[in-house]
């Protein structure tokens, strides 16, 4: 078991290394660089040379990669070009904001998704299922920029209940941020909940059709006891991985929603730094997002392993 965990962590680290290489090489081969963008028309001669020296761009690429990687491991991603401030400081509040948004969506979305999924599966083809399934499929198919815009139109502009876009400094306190996140959370939770509810539904239906559930019924196990003891533990195991992917997707910044609502999270930062050619920030973001994906998936795999007696003994026996 321990061996397996170590192996998985090592694999994750290798993934991160490859991601860092790809982003580094990618930013290298793009025409132009930070200095030409920063200096714009003055990008020649003395000034350009000075800029290269200041940013350390005058040494060969591999040397820059090594020193960048060494610093990145310690959490130092260098300086952002546009703001001329340490990337660490740029990222900090953004990560916090994205976390707030993501956790709100998770705490609201996942329980609702589970309940909807289970209800639709247990009342399969009956009224609750037909009604909820129609709504979820609808919510799933509408692109988030449309649902977000509609939300702004109805709730912010017509009803004037909540602010339509987020106009706060990046580093506001949590309480000040709260009213601003309600609409973005609804927009994200809608699409996420719909996806997960469909997943849970099909998983529960599959288990309900299994021979062991039929056996439990024929053994005289009362309905709800059967659902909680025999169905749900087996149906929700495969859901863990989907939940993990959703969480990673949320943390990684829900780009479109953040842009529509002007929300100061990681997703918008990605867009901003790409359009500003702020390559050090892009690199830092790529690495951070990759680490989020890798670590959350690792956690999900380990959880599945712990909860599934079948896999657990298999691993121990090996």
């Amino acid at each position: 078991m321990l061996f397996l965990i170590i192996k998985r962590i090592l694999l994750g680290l290798i993934t991160l290394f490859i991601v860092s290489l790809i982003t580094f090489v990618g930013t290298e081969i793009l025409p132009g660089d930070a200095c030409t963008t920063y200096l714009e028309r003055q990008a020649f001669g003395e000034q350009l040379e000075a800029c290269y020296r200041r940013l350390g761009l005058n040494v060969p690429a591999y040397e820059r990669y090594v020193s960048w990687a060494a610093n990145a491991i310690q959490g130092d991603f260098g300086y952002s070009l546009s703001g001329e401030m340490p990337i660490k400081e740029v990222l900090g509040p953004r990560i916090k904001n994205s976390l707030v948004l993501a956790s709100a969506a998770i705490f609201i979305g996942i329980p609702i998704a589970l309940i909807l999924g289970i209800v639709t599966a247990l009342w399969r083809d009956k009224l609750p299922d037909v009604a909820i399934s129609t709504v979820t499929i609808f919510a799933m198919t509408i692109p988030e920029f449309i649902s977000a815009t509609l939300l702004i139109l109805i709730i912010a502009i017509w009803l004037e209940w909540l602010p339509g876009i987020v106009i706060v400094p990046t580093d506001v306190s949590f309480l000040e941020l709260l009213p601003n996140i309600i609409l973005p959370v609804i927009a994200i939770a809608m699409i996420m909940t719909a996806h997960m509810a469909r997943m849970v539904r099909s998983s529960v239906i599959q288990v309900m059709a299994s021979e062991y559930v039929q056996m439990a019924i024929l053994k005289g196990v009362p309905y709800w006891k059967m659902v909680f003891k025999h169905v749900l533990p087996n149906a929700l195991l495969p859901a863990i991985n989907v939940v993990a992917l959703t969480i990673a997707w949320l943390l990684g910044g829900v780009v479109v929603t953040e842009v529509v609502f002007n929300y100061p999270g990681l997703g918008r930062l990605v867009i901003e730094s790409i359009s500003n050619r702020d390559l050090p920030t892009v690199q830092a973001l790529a690495i951070i997002l990759a680490s989020i994906y890798v670590s959350i998936n690792l956690l999900a795999d380990l959880m599945t392993l712990m909860l599934n007696p079948r896999l657990k003994t298999l691993q121990i026996r090996k």
Binding site: M215, L218, G220
Partner: protein
Amino acid sequence: MTEIIQKVKNLSIGFKSKKGEEILILRNISTNIKKGETVGIVGESGSGKSTLALAMMGYVKHGLYTIGGECEFNSSNLLKMKNRDLEKIRGRKIAMIPQNAGQALTPNLKIGYQIDEALQLHSDLKEEEREKKISELLNKVRLPSPETIALRYPHELSGGQQQRVAVAMALAGTPDLLLLDEPTTGLDVTTQAHVLELLNFIAKDTGTSMVYVSHDLGAIAQVSDRIIVMYSGEIVLEGPSRDILKKPIHPYTYGLLKSIPKLSLAGLPQSMPGSQPQPGTMYRGCSFFDRCDFSEEKCKNNSPKLEYLEDLNTSVRCFNYKSLVNDSQVNQTVNKIKTSLQDKEILSLSEVSISYAKQKLLDQVLNRISDDNPTVKDININIKKGETIALVGESGSGKSTILKSIAGLLRTKGGIIKFDQNRNLSSDLKERDPNDLRIIQLIFQNPDESLNPNHTVEEIIAQPLKLYFGLKSDELKKNIIDLLQKVRLGEFYMSRYPRQLSGGEKQRVAVARAFAAKPDIILCDEVTSALDVSVQAAVLNLLQQLKEDFGTTYIFVSHDLAVVRAISDRVAVLYQGRLCEVGPSKDVYQFPSHPYTEVLLGAVLEPDPDIKPKLVAEDIVEEKPPQKGCSFQGRCSRILGDICKSEVPPWQITNSGNSIRCHIPLKELQKDQIN
């Protein structure tokens, strides 16, 4: 008159097709189950036997519904009962033992909990008493060390053990009626015999009534007092077990009994033409009309009623049963197989060993396999051209493993596989050239999985023709039609998809695909075990015919010893990946000499209530072959002592050319068996 426990009255169950038609799975079934009796319900897949058993518990599967009739238990109709009331009957009054215990035990709950759950629901015992009861129950179904078993998860037990747990779980509620749905179908012959013996013991011990559902007349014969034969959703014959098996007066049962291969008879049984009509097929007359040898004009348009014959205590659904009453002793005639054996050796395996052990990193780097106790070891077999050799043994005996290595699907650890006396075949598929691949073809157990569901029959058979012979357009088509005719399928099958074919037809397509490559050797991996008995005989006859036409060599793997007896020239008995006995099938079956062969043959169930299985050895499951000595030492009832545990037994050869690998001297081996 004995008390009636369950009364099924005019029961019809069915479903609505997409066009809105009502399609019947069960048609107007009526029967009574009496207290203390065991009733066998026999029929092929799709005959509605499982649906009937489930209805007896008031359970109708999702998608099906009750069209009419009732299942009466304690004078109330189970099919109209509320779930809350059913919960008090299911498990307590009527319990079910499922077909596939491995699938029917909830994977995330421990064995002990699952039995405890039944006890909590259906008894007033307190916690400590329940704990004691769990051990008692597990003991009763003869599971070793109940306390440890109770703490295990279902997947940690073998198939036989899982089935026993399911029996224990059913007994927990001390039911009056036990329903058994193919309870031994997935088990090895020896385990099956043991489980049946256990069920017989429980029936006697507790006086429980049993309904035993199976397609296997051999198993039914061992347990039941009365037999109900079902065909296409109807009861076609019902009566005392002995009469039905010895003198069946319905043509379907008669044909069915004739198509079952028997241990005592070499040669292929006669097959019944055609297959059971699919639910929803329209016919006006008798459902068996198409396949019946005794049919007349009136059978085509009039459907016979189930008629009760007082003097025979039997009900039969046939206009012509009288022609069978006087002369219905099943005189089985077999088509003797012609051996097309030639002297030339076509395939030889020498010192072949195969390992499944996970390779250490160093060995992976050096591309070698090191395992001092491999799964399969010391396999030496020379196969002659035109021979049919069968590999038999229980699951885990390595028979399919050897087949895979011959096909090149599994790398061997050591040894040589030679084709045609001079050509070495690499066990690595990548190192075989196209011709090496062509000469050996495989037919798999389950045609549902071996045929691509998105290809038509034409595309399936065209593939080897294009690949090996580069055939195109007209010539390709001509060859496909030719092959289809050889497997007795019409040209119109070309455009069909596998899902539009019956099980037997699918297997014929798989046979045609194998023959399309014009192979020298065909490997048959349990080719008939997914098929119904009446279809099985037809496929076996077809394989034999094709072999005589093409001079092909078959390597036939099967767990069914009667089938092997019917088709093979020579038999190799395997235990734990080691050969025990190799010899002409005539001799292996007549003088079963190796102790393991004796065990296997003793456990075979014949559809005859007078032939009881002989249970010689325990049905323990061994996980790994022993490091030293004879592979069968762990279960052998005739073990000599230390020599069996320390030394690999020598090959001894009898006068008839039968090789036996045992320490017991030949004379003693033969003497004991004659007694």
